[in-house]
Assembly symmetry: D2
Homo-oligomer: 369 residues x 4
């Protein structure tokens, strides 16, 4: 059992990351210690660095997209969701939510656990100065508290392959699950960042006939093609009218059955309502931070007879299904190619800045490299 672990810590909002060392606490019943292989650098990490989320107790060890190897298991058995025993040496991923209460109205009655007010999330809501310190992934080890939902990685899936999913894939699974996806559908995906790419993969795996990916970054559109898009549209090279016309042309003039929004840009909502066909569905999952208001036309929405769903967060179920998708379709897509940048723990600051400049598709920190 290791004694200490190094971690990259945000001392306070906007301050540079520092490497600190923490004692690894004794493992209590139901807990386990994870040796971090990769931790993904998520857009949310940049927001956390800048102090843009409320209720976060700095200092903070960032990192909620973690894959690694079980280093130790506590005094009692720990099982994964399928009921298998977790053992030292297992390669695993875990759901980033430390705790969902399953005793509140949101969890039990409304059945929207992602709206549970008692949620705590690895790498976001816990102060490392308190026990058990190591609850963020920018570190050599993560302390998996009792009740953490663990999923084993299949042998044929590499750590980089798993890191490619990040927290984007569970979000995408949640989004697609809440939409009327089915074989033969025509879909548009607004945005080819991590979430948009994962939705593209899921649409392809689900048998969609037409998948149009829209983005302004050429390299992302190229990736979209590799990950299932049948067509791409460059936002910076086309007008709104051209995009409307193009999506109608490739859908027998009906327009797309489903439009997925994964951009973070409020203006995308206005465009999405114009793109989606009459009687179609619009799934919105990219508006995670407040980008301000946007003007929409209620009469147009009403006349179009739409089904609009907004999607917040992800549940353990979505991570579990994400790993199944990865495992079953690992040969179909070059998942590892999505990991475009790799950093050591000491380069964590640089990793954040690379992510902020949107140079990477998926950047990962490898604390042991």
């Amino acid at each position: 059992m290791p004694k200490k672990a190094r971690a990259a810590v945000v001392p306070e909002p906007n301050a540079d990351l520092e490497i600190r060392e923490y004692e690894i606490p004794e493992l209590v019943s139901g807990s386990a210690l994870l040796k971090v292989a990769n931790v993904g650098v998520c857009g949310t990490d940049v927001h956390l660095w800048h102090g843009k989320l409320s209720g976060v107790p700095y200092p903070l060890i960032l990192g909620h997209e973690v894959v690694g190897t079980i280093a130790e298991v506590g005094p009692t058995e720990v099982t994964n969701i399928d009921g298998d025993t977790i053992k030292k040496g297992d390669r695993v991923v875990f759901h980033d939510v430390t705790k969902t209460c399953y005793s509140c109205w949101h969890c039990l009655i409304a059945k929207n656990p992602t709206k549970c007010p008692n949620r705590e999330v690895y790498g976001i809501t816990r102060n490392p100065e308190k026990w058990p310190h190591l609850l963020g992934g920018y570190a050599e080890y993560v302390y998996l508290t009792p009740g953490t939902h663990i999923v084993k990685l299949p042998n044929h899936v590499s750590f980089d392959g798993a890191s490619a999913l990040g927290c984007a894939m569970p979000t995408a699974v949640h989004t697609v699950n809440r939409s009327p996806m089915k074989f033969g559908k025509n879909v548009v995906v607004q945005g080819a960042g991590p979430v948009g790419l994962m939705i593209t993969i899921l649409a392809s795996i689900s048998g969609a006939s037409t998948i149009v990916s829209i983005d302004q970054a050429e390299n992302r559109l190229k990736l979209a093609k590799k990950f299932g898009a049948t067509h791409t549209l460059d936002l910076s090279a086309t007008s709104l009218e051209e995009r409307i016309q193009f999506t109608r042309n490739v859908t027998q003039d009906h327009g797309p059955d489903i439009v997925y929004e994964a951009t973070g840009n409020p203006l995308a909502i206005r465009e999405g309502i114009l793109l989606v066909r009459e009687g179609g569905a619009y799934s919105i999952c990219g508006q995670y931070t407040d980008g301000g208001d946007v003007e929409i036309n209620p009469h147009l929405m009403n006349r179009k007879h739409l089904d609009v769903r907004t999607v917040w967060g992800s549940e353990t179920k979505h991570l579990y299904e994400a790993i199944r998708v990865l495992s079953s379709h690992y040969d179909r897509f070059p998942f590892e190619e999505l990991v475009t940048h790799t950093f050591s723990l000491d380069e964590a600051q640089e990793a954040l800045e690379t992510q902020e400049r949107r140079e990477s598709v998926k950047a990962v920190i490898k604390p042991w490299d």
Copy 2:
């Protein structure tokens, strides 16, 4: 078999209605002649009078909310939806859509017949100068063309009771069907005009626990109470913050499970998004004419994890279910009280103007009085 029929005709947009007389054509196979008892004066009739709908071939006999008695049946059997033979003397209502094609993509593949581009509607899309002339309800007789979907009125339901539903109830049925209504739900209904009142009735019949009706007209809020609302909120006497607080107070601080929009005012959309609870549903059916844009906040929508449905038009199914509701729950609500104004055919112009001033809840023309 009568020979001629008087009808109130809009000669051209914004011109006063004129009484004209038409020959009643011979009944072809599958057709029937209806002696009009009541024809409802709908808000859409006012829009049609003012020429606000596109593609309408003036002159026009208004009237799509018709109840009456079968005067004659054509040379072949005519049946209602349940397969019963329609006979002279039957008291009936019929779906205002003359024809839905059931051969286009919208009808057959997307299964959204209210978006069928081949639809024709009594009182809206047919020129009375052409055969068979009498396809609007502001007339002594209506010629029911072959394929018209007819529903018999139960004996215990009066013509005024049936007129109380108008086309508002089928729209309300469609809207509630597309929402997660169920016993025990907390709902808010924005607007207590005909559609809002019908949604209120349906919510009550469906076992909703809390039904808050919001409107600025005191007489309509009083009716809402009679028709199932558990609470009312006067728009002109409360602030937005008060309405948000009130709806939380009566819902164990969760906010309403479902908000129904039936106002026609784009600003209602902004308020509805604020009112609905996290994980709740928002059903929009009141934005039938273009009232312009409204600003909404996509991040708020996304964070709330919403299910937003817009609802366009109604199908025969919804009329059929509307009559079942009326029949089964006729003793529970004073339906006839909703018919607040009655006019003769010669007073059709006055009927339209009364409707335009929003004095009536439901105004009807009785061509034989």
Copy 3:
């Protein structure tokens, strides 16, 4: 804080109940002590008495349908599902499942918590010789362990009114939730025991147009009429053909949209498939014990294009919704009349035998009378 509590205990299968006295343990964090007002005598209690359920650790304090008053709260705050603090003197009901794990595949991935293999149930799965002894309702007090899901009773609902629901209403809520119930539906309910009556109430509250209750006991059919049935059919006075014909006659010859099975008799399944209309739904929730096989015709089922759902157990959500229904519609039905028999704790044996002879609709034990 009381020191001791009397309880009626099944010493071993088929042995007469004995009154035993247990120490009331100190309240741990998150726990509370309930002074039992009423405990319902359920059919399952009779099965437990006869040792018909596997894995039950005798001796056993029966009783999972408990209403009462909070006598004490442990050292930390206890909240109900709506987040309100539970206080001494509160009148409450609680979900009979002591614990659902919310960490297994059934809970998290399949989202069927009633199939969670880690479930423990008050009055069924816990041995009173071990801490905290008082986990069954046939007792003066019940020890509510941490995590028990508590629902407050509204002031206008009596203990007998709440006992009328028993565990039948949550089961009925689960069953109706899983069926396409909606206003205007025509339904048949097979069986007018507690679960069948509760389904009848829910169908009525949900606006069903036709509700046919089928049973062989005249007194139960009379109750069905009081609790919302529009028609009743006496199994012992009618043939199968007559029942098929009758249900078609009252449904415009279509047959019922939904048939609910709540009988416990395998033969009911065969009849239900015959009764339900083409394209209809069949909900089966009454086959809780193994009554053997029954012959059905797969071709008939296939040709009828059916939607068959079987329903196992209930979740906290269903209890929560049950109490909402009770509260909102308390004036509409004479709930207290369902409590037909009352016993003291010393008469617990007699209570079981009365239930076994099916004399009672709902028998309750009042430990303090």
Copy 4:
């Protein structure tokens, strides 16, 4: 415009097929004439030959699985479902239902058009001695009556590729649409005949993780592997217990999420209920003829908390979606290999007998070869 057409006719039940010649009637408004390329020989054709379906007016031109080329179009425009004009030379398929009424309760209210009592089907319900004679596919030409729903074949799809779908694929589409299919699901398909193979394809296209095909014919199991099955089970080489164990082994011990029945054997129902996991779904579409009763255990079904759907017939929508699937995934599966036997029109009798002996997977008649 050709004048006459040869057709293979069943003179009366069980009599050998005869070649007869019919006049090709003038094309009325909305009709078109199809030159038959391939007509599939369906199991139903064998039943029709043996007089096993009721209400069939012999003599009869068999054949409802028709692909071919438009030879002539009537005096008015004919459009396909997407609204495109149908022209001479177009390669097309059409829905075998001549007419669905869209005016009865099943079509409009229950929305189950496959239960419409007014349906008429090419090759089944029309007597060739009456106008327009040519309503079955075992012929050189088929007269497409007004209202026939036509779908154009994409250029890259061969006639044999389209014939591979037969009427099995629309049935499979209907079945899968009514089931909770989604990426990552574990499914079992009972039967690897045409419908079972099509379900296998659809499961694969929909991203199912595990697809176990069960049949007793080795050649069909080999095809199942080619068309997406991840595992096969030979009914004749395994015991029921082995099949249960196997399907658990490949599903993390949970059992399959969905079992599809496509066998025609009543005993399959009993096995399917045993195979499906707790909380799973069972879709039954193979019991098209009455194979007698089967014993099932209602308690087992109830305890398993199942969702059982039976599926009857197919709609135009399902054919439309079938052609989309074929078009989008034509390169993924060797569709043409399913056409294992080819016959001339004069060999129609032999074609039927080959089908009856179950030697063919898909046999087609090519009337012009």
